[in-house]
Amino acid sequence: MRAVGSSISRVDARDKVTGAALYPGDIERPGTVWMKTLFAERVHARIRAIDTAAAEAAPGVLGVFTAADLPFNGFGLNVVDQPVLCGPGAPSAVPDADRVRWPGDRVALVVAETEAQAAAALPLIRIQWEDLPVVTGIEAARQPDAPLLHPSVGSNVLLEYHVRRGDLAAGFAQAAVIVEQTYHTGAQEHAYLQPEAGVGYIDALGRIVVEVAGQWAHKDRQQIAAALKLPEEQVVVRYPAIGGAFGGREDMSVQIVLALAVWRLHQRGIDRPIKIIWSRRESIIGHHKRHPMLARAKWGAAADGRLTAQQVDFSLDGGAYASTSTKVLGNALLAALGPYDCANQWVDGRAVYTNNVPGGAFRGFGGPQGHFIAEMQINKLAEALGMDPLELRLRNCWQEGSIQPTRSVLPAGVTIDPVLRRLRQEMAEGGDSGIAAHRPPFTVERSPFRTSLDASAPPRLRGVGLACCFKNVGFSLGFRDICHATVELYGDGEIQRAVVRHAAAEVGQGAHTVIAQVAAETLGLPVGRVELIVQDTAETGDSGSVSASRMTFMAGNAVKGAAEAALARWQDEERPAIAHFEYVPRRTTPYDHDTAESDPNITYGYCAQAAEVEVDPDTGHVHVLRVVSVNDVGAAINPQQVEGQIEGAVAQSVGWTTHENFVQQDGRVLTDQLSTYLIPTVVDVALVKPVILEYPDPQGPLGARGMAEMPFIPTAAAIVAAVHDATGVWFDEIPLTPERVWRGLQGRTD
């Protein structure tokens, strides 16, 4: 049996099912003490002074730490603008580090013998506040007189990009139909099973060790070392089992503060492991969300369906800090135009600081927001033209050699056309798992566990809709992406075992299994002879982040390269045969500031989906019955894992589109528990038919493309189109809460 292309069991499955796998909150070390975080719980304020004396004197307390304890008080993935602990007194810091800018900002840490003692000491910390004016609206934040979140930046606009191509006025003049609309998408909470947690301690070599759940161990280490002004070798980041990530673990949560407390206590002669577990509420108020978006789009098409002009203006709510906003904006900029050829393209996109929870990485990374604009527009153009929406896409979609909006040729392997054609086939065939428009209603077995109404009661309406997308694979816009791997071969006559060293975070996506499969395939070994060392910055090279759908693509290439090199040494009789490989993909280039001219992305994956929905026109409930998701993944290293990613992405996107309503009022999160922020349950999500296409990517390892984000991206627009098909009403704002749909259907004529 070949290793690649087989649905072998995941290498981590047994330990996770039996409970042997330890997540950060499960780790017990002798003598452990506990840490609690004092969150700001203020929307916008300056801290004049912090008095920790009473807290330090409280029972069981070993230490209280504030901004003054940080050698450098700042961090950030792309823009270093966030204080580790807000407050005065750090010898060096980001500008205005004495400010809090959203209630989830961190102000102080208490370490005590027990968690209860640490919690009891928190309210004893006295803070002198000076409240500042609050700005929470995307539009309000752009006004000239708006209060500034970061005065040193001089504006609440963190970054603005522009696409300028062709002649917009001429394009609209050629149009037979023009569609112009405003769109609004909401924030989304990652809601991973395991809230933020970690353990920190000093190891036998005197290094600070942080065991934590993250997405890029070496970047965590770099940010910890920078804040503590220590050499990176002085810090070890180790990833035990990770309970989901979805982009939500890219930013620093407990990493730096654990290291800080461990280091400061160590300097006082106290070497005790420190543990912290955020509550669900702390997790929800304390980490970034998917960016809310406000957009206006105007597109024109000729009578034959050919796009003549695309104009989009959109703003992302970046919240209090930059986080990954600049990169999310970069992705959304192109996504807002869809995978379509058009000679005249014009986009203005920006990320804006507000006093809301920061906007940051979340599966799709700007792609879902951008494509919501593009796919809503193309579906409305199809309606205006009286044309089949899939046919309209085929008349406009990219082909091999097409020029993207950045005036560069698309990376080879452009397959949106065959992906769309396969979706058409799936929709026409119907059958048990296909979706055929306008067929007689069929029966989907409903769960007997439903306890409240859904959309199944008469007089329900049904509809079908579709959408498609592209997703970049790997880091973009000139970032020097890199991935290290080492392969060691042991044995005499034949290879007894192969050790692979790699730093890919296993966040539940199956990265470690993919690494083992690629190594086994390249070496011609059974997967059982591959051993992985994959969770420790001291034992591995930098493999980059598990984000941007990049790890299968990057790690696959790196592991394949290292395995091939090790095999060559093995054949040269080296024992053990050890080879290191550093995979560097082709270089991309940054956007030109005024036109976005560039070669922005390494490569792309392509996806198209159809959704069938039921709508209860009286209550406004929308139930997504079925989704067919067609994905070109290049090569499915592990088909079962690919199917799992497709089903999971669709389920998560059904949540974003229909259920998940993240409510902030004047900067405060009102939905700060999973009882108020509802994610879909197993009976709320759709039946998903995953369709895997394998058109090899010329750059991919064994042809593979990254794929775990793209099945999230088109779902929202497909569902909204299906609701339109059912009701005749377009909903330009998501989530489609029952009340929003009910309101939209008032005055509807059947």
Binding site: A116, S452, L670, L678, P738
Partner: protein, 288 residues
């Protein structure tokens, strides 16, 4: 979480004395699905929690001599919802109790606790009100009985006096009746009611329409309320026009609020929609 003492008394007298002794600082509980969260989040700060699960009779779920159903204070939601006798004789109650939260929580949560919390969104209350249920209370002056409708005073407020606790619920049998509980949530399992409607109807040759009705509305007023005008209209006329008038009367009885889950306008209109659907289904079953 603030520490508290846990006491599990063996007699009603002992329980009552404990509650009286720590008046205002003691909380009785059964399933603890609500109380523990409220303590953990700092909404309540009891010094003592009194576990009622060892008290006599609190686990009874039986039909007493006159045909009424008796539910002890510690009987769980699932014990009621999945009981064949309840399902055949009091189907509206089975639906209401089976709608609470999730299956796992219904293994802990009790009907008695649901009533004592006095949430206007309590899913067991509308059904019990439709059946004309009474609550049995034990206190310093011994036992007393109160109609359930008089038990609720406001959100989180009941008629329980110092030293009193709820011991059981009696649910009359309504001959020939059919009933349905319709709950509106944002997800199809697990959510608290945005609002709910319980409808009970039974043949009655003494009224013009041939059927009598009780309708109770949840989460649209400070307490669960009846919709008496809708009930009266249905006893006059169950034609489509009568049904529409009754549904609108039910909506007019509602006094909902705006909150982060829904607006008052939506909730009022949903009273109309769910009342109409509930009455239609009951009519089919009792042959209206």
């Amino acid at each position: 979480m603030q520490p508290f003492d846990y006491i599990k008394p063996q007699t009603l007298e002992e329980a009552s004395a404990l509650l009286l002794q720590h008046n205002g600082q003691a909380r009785p509980f059964a399933g603890c699905t609500d109380l523990l969260i409220r303590i953990e989040r700092g909404f309540v700060h009891p010094q003592v929690v009194v576990d009622v699960k060892d008290l006599p009779g609190v686990h009874d779920l039986l039909v007493v001599r006159n045909g009424d159903l008796r539910i002890g204070a510690a009987v769980t939601m699932n014990q009621v919802a999945l009981n064949p006798t309840v399902q055949s004789g009091w189907p509206l109650l089975a639906e209401g109790c089976g709608s609470v939260a999730s299956y796992q929580l219904r293994n802990r949560a009790t009907v008695g606790g649901n009533l004592c919390n006095a949430s206007p969104a309590a899913d067991s209350a509308p059904a019990l009100i439709c059946y004309g249920a009474s609550v049995h209370i034990f206190g310093p002056d011994g036992p007393r009985t109160l109609p359930l409708e008089a038990f609720f005073l406001g959100p989180g407020r009941t008629a329980l006096q110092a030293g009193e606790l709820l011991t059981a619920i009696t649910v009359p049998f309504v001959r020939g009746s059919a009933g349905h509980f319709l709950k509106l949530g944002r997800t199809t399992i697990g959510d608290i009611s945005l609002m709910n409607v319980a409808v009970l109807g039974w043949p009655d040759s003494d009224v013009p329409s041939g059927s009598s009705w009780r309708i109770a509305l949840g989460s649209v007023a400070p307490t669960v309320i009846r919709a008496p005008e809708a009930e009266r209209l249905l006893s006059q006329d169950t034609s489509p026009a009568g049904l529409e008038a009754a549904s609108q009367a039910a909506a007019a009885a509602a006094r909902p609020i705006d909150d982060i889950r829904a607006t008052a306008a939506y909730r009022s209109d949903m009273v109309r929609v769910l009342t109409r659907r509930g009455v239609e289904r009951v009519l089919e079953e009792i042959g209206g």
